[in-house]
């Protein structure tokens, strides 16, 4: 039959299966293929904490949402054009995310009574008319895969594990994606198990041919490459970018990187990534607990290395006392908090932005620390690099914040030239003349980084209050007050080292939307839409949270209203209101999920209507 090829702007696909059923794997393949095809891409992996929850259960469903576009995009999409559901539970969990008239592909072989019951369906949704608003494609995915692989020597269980690649073959056909990338990936992934390369390749091709020859699929779609600034690109996840940023800072500063960590979702992949870079002299230390992990970073910093540690909220809570020690000892260190939904253990595989006040205030005494946050997966590179630069220049621990959404999300990254990265100057004093461990640089107030092993500069530091200049232990009341002010002033002075704040839109508009961290994408998209509709709205996204940019107060005063959307109950809003006495309005969502664009748009509408 004659097939139609239709050109469209963009598409959003959600793959959903039991965890371990391969949704993450084929989602990643489709992402890479789309990025290499020149589309802008954004992803949202969403999976349970359980490694293998009972098959077919609602709790065990793992999803991978991917949006690819011929335009520049900032989010993985609110709703999907295509949902691939490998069983009834995958359908039940995700059907609300499918657009009306969206394409629903299901493995009909998995819709037996037992699976329907496990998913909590009292009747079969494929037969009871509840899915009439969608284009449903019931495919015998299990039978077809078994048929395609009948000549292999694999067990039935192994054959069934190739179903996801059959589905990927179908989706590749639907969106005219070449499968070369997936072939190549299989070759690498199963280098030692060639029978799996063959089986998955067969499944992939069979799925593709199935769409080509059956009448069910009449139309395929084409998405033109997006317009990108010239340069070399790769697809990158946030945690990968964070790891690379730390290595880049180590290389540019000439300092060895010592990264202490204790496994925790969603920070562990930074440790995995860095552990591969021994040839860069990177020393990763998986320690006995979170405290030891920060301890080795502090010790390494005392020895003259770039010390870093990474964790998520619960782990950062354990590290707090040690971070405070590094603060009063005035040692450079980077602490990465890859936030997840709290409080306590919370929802380890879900995203949130509710650790901001913890990072500001979660230590005893007056403990000011610079706090900066990444906005997108690729931005993790530059932001953590900046954290390293500030730490070394000002001799202070710096908090780098990311979150699960951008840590696991992926997007194309314009790879920077190493020569374009900002310089990170390091000075280790050797002159004994007039050396004092707490004699500060006049401009930055940084104390000297005098390393053990340097003759004549022997000195003692510690967590007891220090006498100004000499660094000796001091209980003097005036000295204590002075030191508290000095440490605060040192952090405050970083404002002079920050670029001017960018305003997206017109200054003096009706409404400013102010955001931080991973909500960048949804907010920017919403503001773009509203501006296109002619609304008077602008966007400022903050990388620097402590100190806040010095131009921020004036910028905000130029707008009638300020809206701060956050995945918490209003933590940045609290800080902004306290600092500037501005009556900012919040949009707060705390569901473990990122913002949808429409949620921000409707809040903007509400405020603009209210202001009119």
């Amino acid at each position: 039959m004659k097939k139609k090829k239709q050109s469209i702007e963009e598409a959003t696909i959600l793959f959903a299966s039991d965890s371990g059923g391969g949704a993450q794997s084929i989602g990643t393949q489709m992402t890479e293929a789309s990025a290499i095809a020149g589309n802008d891409v954004a992803t949202l992996p969403d999976y349970p904490a359980e490694i293998r929850a009972p098959a077919g259960s609602l709790a065990g469903i793992s999803g991978f949402q991917l949006r690819f576009s011929s335009l520049t995009i900032h989010t993985p999409g609110d709703l999907c054009d295509v949902l691939v559901a490998m069983n009834p539970a995958a359908l039940k969990v995700n059907i609300d995310k499918l657009k009306p008239n969206g394409i629903l592909i299901v493995d009909i072989d998995n819709f037996a009574r037992r699976n329907l019951r496990l998913a909590g369906y009292s009747s079969n949704p494929l037969e009871d008319g509840s899915l009439t608003q969608f284009q449903v494609f019931p495919i015998e995915l299990t039978r077809l895969t078994r048929e395609a692989l009948k000549d292999t020597n694999l067990t039935q269980r192994e054959v069934d594990r190739c179903k996801n690649f059959y589905a990927l073959g179908m989706v590749c056909w639907m969106y005219n994606r070449p499968m070369d990338y997936a072939f190549q990936w299989l070759e690498e992934k199963f280098a030692t198990k060639p029978q799996y390369i063959e089986a998955n390749t067969l499944a992939l091709k069979a799925g593709n041919i199935y769409c080509e020859v059956t009448e069910q699929f009449a139309t395929s779609y084409e998405i033109k490459p997006a317009k990108f600034a010239p340069g070399t690109y790769r697809n990158i996840e946030g945690n990968m970018a964070t790891a690379l940023g730390l290595v880049a800072a180590s290389q540019k500063s000439g300092l060895q990187l010592v990264y202490g960590s204790y496994p925790i979702t969603p920070a562990s992949t930074i440790l995995h990534e860095l552990a591969r870079y021994r040839n860069f002299g990177v020393k990763t230390m998986q320690m006995e607990d979170e405290i030891a992990a920060v301890g080795v970073a502090i010790g390494a910093a005392f020895s003259g290395a770039l010390g870093a540690t990474g964790s998520s909220g619960p782990g950062i809570a354990l590290k707090a006392e040690a971070i405070n020690l590094a603060m009063i000892a005035e040692l450079p260190m980077v602490v990465c908090n890859i936030q997840r939904a709290g409080p306590s253990t919370g929802m380890p595989t879900k995203t949130e932005q509710a650790d901001l006040l913890q990072m500001f205030y979660g230590r005893n005494g007056e403990s000011p620390l610079p706090v900066i946050a990444a906005s997108r997966p690729s931005d993790c590179f530059e932001t953590v690099y900046e954290a390293c630069r500030i730490a070394i220049k000002y001799m202070t621990p710096v908090i780098f914040m990311s979150d699960l959404y951008i840590a696991f999300g992926a997007e194309p990254w314009l790879i920077p030239k190493v020569s374009d990265l900002p310089a990170i100057d390091v000075h280790f004093p050797t002159d004994t003349n007039g050396f004092e461990p707490y004699l500060r640089d006049e401009a930055t107030l940084a104390r000297p980084w005098a390393l053990p092993g340097t003759p004549g500069l022997e000195h003692r530091i510690g967590g007891l209050e220090k006498e100004d200049v000499s660094g000796n232990v001091s209980y003097d009341p005036d000295n204590h007050e002075q030191m508290v002010h000095l440490r605060a002033e040192k952090v405050a002075r970083i404002v002079d080292d920050m670029p001017p704040t960018e305003i997206f839109g017109e200054s003096g508009a009706e409404l400013l939307v102010l955001s931080w961290g991973g909500s960048y994408g949804a907010v920017r998209t919403a503001v773009e839409h509203k501006q296109a509709e002619g609304e008077s709205v602008a966007h400022v996204h903050l990388r620097y949270l402590n100190p806040l940019p010095k131009d921020l107060g004036d910028i905000m005063k130029g707008f009638k209203r300020v809206l701060i959307p956050e995945l918490n109950l209003g933590q940045l809003r609290l800080l902004i209101r306290a600092e500037y006495l501005i009556d900012a309005v919040g949009l707060n969502k705390i569901q473990g999920q990122p913002f949808h664009v429409f949620e921000i748009e409707s809040k903007i509408d509400e405020l603009l209507r209210g202001a009119a």
């Binding site: 890479e32 290595v247 021994r278 040839n279 502090i298 390494a300 290395a305 003692r460």
Partner: protein, 348 residues
């Protein structure tokens, strides 16, 4: 930074004296505290170790003993409660050329820092740990510690403590420590020798020092440190020598099944061949562990000296080896290449 590649190697340096290792800070331990002696012996032995003063780093946690680094004219870091082993591990891993010392107490190392203590022992970084054991919390004014004997009456246990104490030597051995020793604050010569042996050992060296707190637990170890009782209540471990003790060297230790027992050497029956011969270099920890348990048995003398001293690869050395291997295999890391790794595409 100096370009040395291995652990501190004795090199010819200008002659240093105890005075060189004494900082300008006033020592603020209670008069009569056992810590003074440990400080003095450390300051006396350091000049003999043959490495430059600037290569010593003393790292402590919290407690009376942990003030120690302030009094040493070396690099020092007075950190937080129980965490000194972690910071020391970072210092040593980042710069294996430094001579790193952890100064800790029974509360610091075995209560709040218990987890770090056992993991430091098993990792075997080349770090020397001096644990001042006074069986009491001094700085917080007299609560029982994890080495206090059961039934101890303190401010926090007016009816007597109901916890079982740790045996630090057993704990270190069970954790895989490669050098384990015990010494006494009131035996300066022995203490210096043990500190020197700990320094010479490549790997984590653990030294428990019986230390008198004359304010909150006065005389806790007098049975083992004072002239009148010491000889009959301690046995000094010497490699290759039978375990003989007593004022007139008239008693020995032999094994009865799994139980160490005291035997008299004067009534003719047992000879020194039947006694336990100490082997501090035995790879197997069993004998050392037997000896460590002697303090739990009333009537047996407390072993003093080196329980175990075996050479295993050090953590920081293996780290350096991995880095060298990776560089050989993949070449020295190139940042530009790393950033451009994987699937890339060019937009014109």
């Amino acid at each position: 930074m100096k370009n040395r590649t291995s652990s501190p190697i004795p090199v010819a340096v200008q002659t240093l004296t105890k005075q060189d290792f004494t900082s300008d800070q006033d020592v603020r331990w209670c008069p009569g505290c056992g810590d003074y002696s440990i400080l003095a012996q450390t300051q006396r032995i350091l000049p003999d170790l043959g490495i430059p003063k600037e290569d010593f780093v003393f790292i402590s946690g919290i407690g009376c003993s942990s003030r120690f680094p302030y009094y040493m004219n070396t690099y020092g870091f007075h950190t937080i409660h129980g965490r000194a082993p972690t910071i020391a591990a970072g210092v040593k891993t980042a710069n294996p050329d430094l001579s790193v010392w952890v100064i800790t107490g029974d509360g610091d190392a075995l209560s709040i820092g218990g987890n770090h203590f056992i993991h430091l022992m098993r990792r075997n970084l080349d770090i020397n740990v001096l644990l001042f054991n006074n069986r009491i919390y001094g700085l917080t004014k007299g609560q029982y510690s994890p080495t206090s004997e059961q039934g101890k009456k303190t401010y926090s246990t007016p009816m007597g403590s109901i916890d079982n104490p740790f045996n630090p030597i057993s704990l270190a051995l069970a954790s895989g420590a490669t050098f384990v020793a015990r010494s006494l604050d009131r035996d300066p010569e022995h203490l210096r020798n043990v500190i020197k042996a700990a320094f010479d050992h490549k790997g984590t060296s653990f030294v428990e020092i019986y230390q008198n707190c004359n304010v909150y637990n006065d005389g806790a170890f007098f049975t083992y440190t004072e002239k009148e009782t010491k000889a009959d209540n301690t046995v000094f471990l010497e490699h290759g020598e039978p375990l003989v003790f007593g004022k007139d060297s008239d008693k020995g230790i032999c094994l009865n099944g799994f139980k160490p027992e005291v035997v008299s050497l004067t009534d003719g029956a047992p000879t020194s061949e039947n006694l336990i011969t100490h082997d501090q270099f035995a790879e197997d920890r069993t004998l050392a562990y037997f000896l460590s348990r002697m303090t739990e048995v009333p009537g047996l003398p407390h072993p003093i000296g080196i329980f175990r001293s075996v050479e295993h690869p050090c953590y920081e050395g293996m780290m350096t080896e991995q880095i060298n291997t990776a560089k050989e295999r993949m070449g020295e890391g190139n940042l530009e290449a790393l950033l451009n790794e994987g699937d890339t595409w060019v937009v014109e």
